[in-house]
Symmetry: D2
Subunit: 326 residues, 4 copies
């Protein structure tokens, strides 16, 4: 059962803001994200590449770091003020989750913590600015990605993870339950910024990063990305779609980057700012929740994901088999 | 000069939510909004027609009422909770603006008040629900309007009006100033819901309603609306566009309904949820602020608007001539 | 090996013009083609429904006739003049293929004949007119189909069938060959009207109708058709796509009508009027020829088709297994 | 009155194929056509730049040559065979129009001649090939221009010019007449390749080149071109549109290149291969013929054009004032 937050928490998480991905060949990954997908490189150091979308006015939303094996690092969230960081520190401390203050390039002070399930989170209030490229149309390339949209996680303890993020103030917009007399929550979409989600949770071996969702202004940009990727040596990166999700109504394309990290190009969901917006319920035996048009998703999409650095992956408590196609 | 709110006010206005328009021939207006533009009629009484967009899950966002002459009635805003209504009542009372509780069809209790400049405002927390049509694609018609987006007003006292709405918690995203050593604020875009605006103010004879902005999911919907309107007896309704605004980056089309009320079809602005987002400044001598592509707007667009019922229209304090084309 | 016509034949086939499909429930099929897909009904008799696209100014391009079982009837071709019909009669007679003059509703005199492989063909020069709806944008619905584009056939004797249609003046634009030292023609696209094809031939159990291709002005129309079909009770009609063919560069969606007849929504191929345009060669082991984006086509797409009334289906001479996905 | 060709002439003009434009600063013009508009440079010599669209498989469709002042040079037409060139030579000779054989870079033998009104024409059967870029999506830029579509001319002797091109085999698809009891032909659209036009004629000071039309696969490409041009220093190049023509149903954008040569980006007309297709008639007092959406065209669009090198410009015989807006 989805839960609702009992009022707003004493801090204001504004939105999901960045993800740090460990990649095994920084140059190869840069080629994929910048040259093929069209993200903008704000800055590159020998150790990291900082990327952003065309409308983003802050320094980074995807950070690639050189690592020996593919792994996900911090999920970053922007908060409204410095005071919110202190309130979050207290929140985590009260739950026995010790947070630490860390330095992140181009950010103000940053609170690093793991959620109760081992997912590494980072919170910050200030980030260095970057030029807005929204009206630099001559620079538009590839998927014409505008901004980071959401982070999707496999959760082994789905119900509890959902409840924890509800405590953080994330509001549920849509959810999937198992069928039958005792429905169990299977997946859930939760937001802070007023669209369908900042964070989504899917039942499965976890915690793992299922995908990073980036937003494009038009479905045409996503189709163009298919054409570009398919004819520039990246046809093997297209894992699923393009298609329309029943859930969220999003037009989607799932890609796998050179290390297998999954990226979703995402367009056309809807506004969710009303606090009394009723979450939409889907059931696991309705294949149109996954693809409105009835297509099956490949098995890889349900099974594969990126482990978080330093976090063990657990089998999910809930076993059920989603209906994946008509 | 644009101002910033000194912290959040003690109430939470979620978004602009509806507008009530007095029309002289209800059947004729219904034909325009429903049959030509494709808005959905939730309910019609002999006196009023209640309209909504495809993704809207509440009863109405545009209300047409039969009147002897064209006029604008209340601008409606949704607040987060019932308590916010009481806090707003106190806010207005403290400023010598007596609010009253009124009944509105399909809404919970509604606070009615005029802002210091005479604009009739209504606030509510609850509205009756309505079926979400977002995935009833067989019903899509005309402009495929998704939702109300914003309300744009002529203000005779631009700076003061801006400051008042900043007190209400509206945050500035973009603004236009006059040129010269002593710049004066000419127009301003302010939001609550996380995109470019819920309310915009333009210097001019006011207060008057400049236009109602409705949001479409795609620029293609706006082009299709041009084709449909132009070939179904409504070519005279196209006032300006389609085009791209420099300000807001929106793709726009301005229509005049059968009574001359202006409606903007609007797509493709950007996310503004970051509280530290720096407002973008434009100057009055930059024609690309108005139309990125350099087109002139017709004089009617700068001069004509809808008076509010019962409110006198005043000449603007600030006189300047915008540069309207290259 | 593809062949070229030895000069123009003594008649001028202008384009493929119609197909007649036997359906088992005329009302159900009309619902699919008109209400869901958005084709226009020019005329309905008790026995037949005559359909056309939005830009077509002649009476019909798809004719549905009531039959006991699903089957394809005549493939219709428009010729430039009445004299061309006589020349075609002579052409077929010279090859031992007796043609007959038949009556078709809303057409001038019509030559009916079977090609050497048993495919029923009809040729005509004049058809009754119908209102052009291209600029009646208020009538646009569903897939917004503009016109018939092509007819695709399974051929059991691929090479010979190709050579016969080359004799009729059809010019090859693209073709697929088997791999290896002795390549064999596997599929071929041939045109008269100046785009990629009027007729395509695919190796397989034949002759059968593989699909009827209809043209839309925009890929967005095809995506909208997916959404409409998926939410109006027709999700089971989507067989394959949307996607991009390598061959022809078309953006495609394959549907199965209520009797299993396959319809392709098709957009964005290219101009082929130059008589010296070199045909493009693809090989059977290149999966991007089928789907540029790398998706597999379902087995049904390779195996299922509509038999022609009164024509036995033969096993193909050529056995090979196409590579259908990466 | 529009006329029809009395049967096919003894030669086969396949399509309009290229235009040669004299520009005053070759580097500046290359920047506009290649860097901003996204045309492909096949080859550049010190004296000329050879351009083509993404789907074009021949060497050039727009040729820029360095000249002291802006002027138009030859309009090029592809014919089906070498024999057609000889037949054309005889055709012109019979009308007292001496043609000459000339050399053109990357073309086979080329027949150069002036039409009776002084327009320089060139005919050729063979041109060097060039790589097809249609599926090199990574190279798509700017307006994503696919191919040359048509050439539009001001004609001082409209009726006679029309009759001459009808003799050459061009077929009329649409035309505008003056109003009144004695209608006079005002403008005419004529084709060879099966869409609305290869050549259009407009009454006016002539002969002059009104514009070069290039074809894009999508209206979205045209909107993107507006955004790119407007933000890369070329906002002054946008003369008219984007919009929809009533005539031809085309979605259009008119640009002026750095020398004032007019270029039309053009999408979404229709198929015209049927030889018995009835031309569509428009009248000069119907503003929707010009812009379906009712917009006025600027005076420059009606008055300005490019003179042909070496040809005097004459005042038009027919004086009338088109209705340019509602």
């Amino acid at each position: 059962m989805p839960v609702r937050a009992a009022g707003e928490p004493p801090f204001n998480i504004v939105r999901c803001a960045y993800v740090t991905l460990g990649v095994t060949d920084l140059a190869r990954s840069r080629d994929f994200y910048v040259d093929a997908l069209g993200l903008t490189e704000t800055e590159a150091t020998g150790e990291a590449v900082y990327l952003r979308g065309l409308e983003e006015r802050s320094h980074h939303s995807i950070v690639l770091v050189q690592r020996a094996s593919p792994e996900a690092h911090a999920l970053g969230f922007k908060v409204a003020s410095e005071g919110d960081l202190d309130a979050l520190e207290a929140f985590f401390a009260a739950r026995g989750l010790p947070a630490s203050w860390t330095e992140r390039h181009a950010q103000g002070r940053t609170l690093a913590v793991r959620d109760p399930f081992g997912v590494p989170l980072e919170f910050y209030a200030r980030m260095d600015g970057a030029e807005r490229l929204l009206q630099r149309y001559g620079l538009y390339r590839g998927a014409q990605i505008m901004r980071l949209d959401h982070l999707n996680l496999f959760a082994a303890e789905l119900q509890q993870t959902h409840e924890f993020y509800a405590e953080l103030g994330f509001r549920t917009t849509e959810y999937t339950e198992t069928e039958g007399p005792d429905p169990r929550l299977w997946a859930v979409w939760m937001h802070r910024k007023g669209n369908v989600h900042d964070v989504a949770l899917t039942n499965g071996r976890g915690p793992r990063l299922h995908h990073v969702g980036v937003w494009t202004a038009s479905v045409m940009s996503i189709l163009h990305a298919c054409d570009v990727l398919a004819t520039t040596g990246h046809v093997d990166k297209l894992e699923r779609g393009p298609g329309r999700h029943g859930i969220s109504n999003a037009f989607f394309l799932y890609l796998r980057d050179p290390d297998g990290h999954r990226v979703e190009l995402f367009a056309s969901d809807y506004l969710t700012v009303d606090p009394d917006l009723e979450p939409l319920r889907w059931t696991l035996d309705d294949p149109q929740r996954q693809t409105l048009w009835g297509h099956a998703a490949p098995a890889s999409w349900f099974e594969e994901g990126t482990p978080f650095a330093g976090t063990a992956v657990r089998e999910p408590a809930l076993r059920a088999r989603p209906v994946v196609a008509r």
